[in-house]
Subunit: 398 residues, 2 copies
Amino acid sequence: MSAVTDGTAVPSLQGVTAAAGFRATGVTAGLKPSGRPDVALVVNDGPSDAVAAVFTSNRAKANPVIWSQQVVADGVARAVVLNSGGANCFTGSFGFQTTHQTAEAVADVIGVGAADVVVCSTGLIGVGGEAFREGVLRGVGLAAAGLSTDGGPAAAEAIITTDTHAKQSVVSVDGWTIGGMAKGAGMLAPGLATMLVVITTDADLASDALDQALRAATRVTFDRVDSDGCMSTNDTVVLMASGASGTTPEVGDFQEALTAVCADLARQLQQDAEGASHDIAIEVVGAASEDDAVTVGRSVARNNLFKAAVFGNDPNWGRVLAAIGTTDAEFDPYAVDVSMNGVRVCHAGAPDRPSDQVDLTPRDTHVHIDLGVGPHAATILTNDLTHDYVHENSAYSS
Amino acid sequence: MSAVTDGTAVPSLQGVTAAAGFRATGVTAGLKPSGRPDVALVVNDGPSDAVAAVFTSNRAKANPVIWSQQVVADGVARAVVLNSGGANCFTGSFGFQTTHQTAEAVADVIGVGAADVVVCSTGLIGVGGEAFREGVLRGVGLAAAGLSTDGGPAAAEAIITTDTHAKQSVVSVDGWTIGGMAKGAGMLAPGLATMLVVITTDADLASDALDQALRAATRVTFDRVDSDGCMSTNDTVVLMASGASGTTPEVGDFQEALTAVCADLARQLQQDAEGASHDIAIEVVGAASEDDAVTVGRSVARNNLFKAAVFGNDPNWGRVLAAIGTTDAEFDPYAVDVSMNGVRVCHAGAPDRPSDQVDLTPRDTHVHIDLGVGPHAATILTNDLTHDYVHENSAYSS
């Protein structure tokens, strides 16, 4: 990011309304039993209406995902409407009609076509009946009256489910800005987490440039959060550009700044993962390919025995090696080094420094795996497996 | 199993000494801090010495697995020596020498070559130093003095780790018998669980017939237990035939009886899985292929959100569909039916009967998934994700 004066992502601030040309709000429509805000609306006032988005790779996709994939196909969108309190997934044709009606309601409010309105839902699968439809449409009406250029924080608040707090991030670079909000705390897994992310920028970039930058950024950020190995049906990351800054940045600069925002939001998702007591970065180096590094990192991240051991502050490197052994990555079990929080506990596939020299009590946990067969690396972010995770996910819907 | 008078597997009884021609024992060599028995020896007195075995498909294999794969390659073995209290995995060349010395010690006792002695170890990865070697060799000496034709139960007791009880099974058919013992409670996963299994028979069958029957039996039994998705480095299933009955059964009859023993032991493993409060059978029908059915069942079995929901007696079918969607199996998300304990909660990808009609309080839990695209089926056995699972696996090595 040459010629960049301030390229560091900063949490909070205005999120999706930090960039010029956007209004947003969050309202309470009664979808959540808790009575917390549950419908958010983000509107791009232009002059540009370029959009790009990536969606869950789960083959069981929620109605809003099926709808929104069509909306962004032409690279144009004017608004994103989001609800918590129901995923509108596996709710039949009634559920799809609800998504369509929601887009139409927003389109009426801002004077565009429904085909320019992205819809996102999050909450329980199977929730999407009459009461849900009425609630969402009521929410759109309320949101229409509340849109403002400093409504980002309210929007961020309205999309959370089991998150303990809203997540926003902003980076400003040479006269243009990227800001975003995210939700997601459980079902965090590859090919996107159970998360909804809206990112806005006042940079002036065409939709194909946005698409390229977004795919590159999510590939190394959100796609590498694997909190609990469970892939959602509703994951969506939307990037809208208003062009209101009048500036068209270098593609490389834009991508770097976008990656910084995505990485910051991804890290916030990890830090707020359901029931977690450790934020674990699994850094795999010495891999024959980047894919191999990701595969190995993900296998360790998904190993319940390893995750439970970290919860117990137990540097159980044997479980790391056993997890590596289940992959098809190139490696020699007797050439692998494993370090935890800076202490090499396994060298060349045999015990090295004593495990009791490892301090796993800090929340930030670093597992370093050297496969010793090549120059490639990747880091996967995950969490430990805790009593609180089991509690939250056994009680979530009851 | 035509012409079979008594083909039902029965738990307990004599396990590996139920069939004629075998002696066994279990002793306490001091490998376990608990002071419980930790070394077992099973000897085939013939006249036949045919053997077959299957091993973990984990690419990180323990020293005893590397050794034993060579031992059984010629279809001949006279004994299996097993220890708990240390996996002897990732213990360097010292660890491999320990396995070799263990086989030689057993060979000396029974007057055969070391290349006819299968070695199995279970316990913590990375444990396999001087004290371990001394303990195992001491155990072989003790076991040599204790071998008897009713030593099966003692052997079964000596191989358990976090198991709450020993596991044995016997089936007798028309003058010949198959008996077995198993251990395994955590790290239960595909391509074999963290388990050691020794099966003996007095039927007279050549090693290639044993091998064929064993692979067919494990494919539909042990390979379909997926308690926690973690694959072990030490898994071994050994089948020895003494021929002492003087009977050579029909291959089909033998395979059916062997499958019954394996299924019974697999079910015992599931029922004793670490910390579990539900034994879940995930029956997938209507699949385009058996592989697809297994893939779908395994994906659901490994979904932590689904497993935690069952722990909470919550029939969360949305998590089932989300797990199916992550597979490459042929299916249409809007044609899937899901029933739990006999209540169809999802029909054609939409809500069916109310979830509160499902009673998930019994330990035995049945999830029935109809993909609706073909005639194939498979059942995967798994467990729920509980506080006790997290506790046991965070505290296991500390």
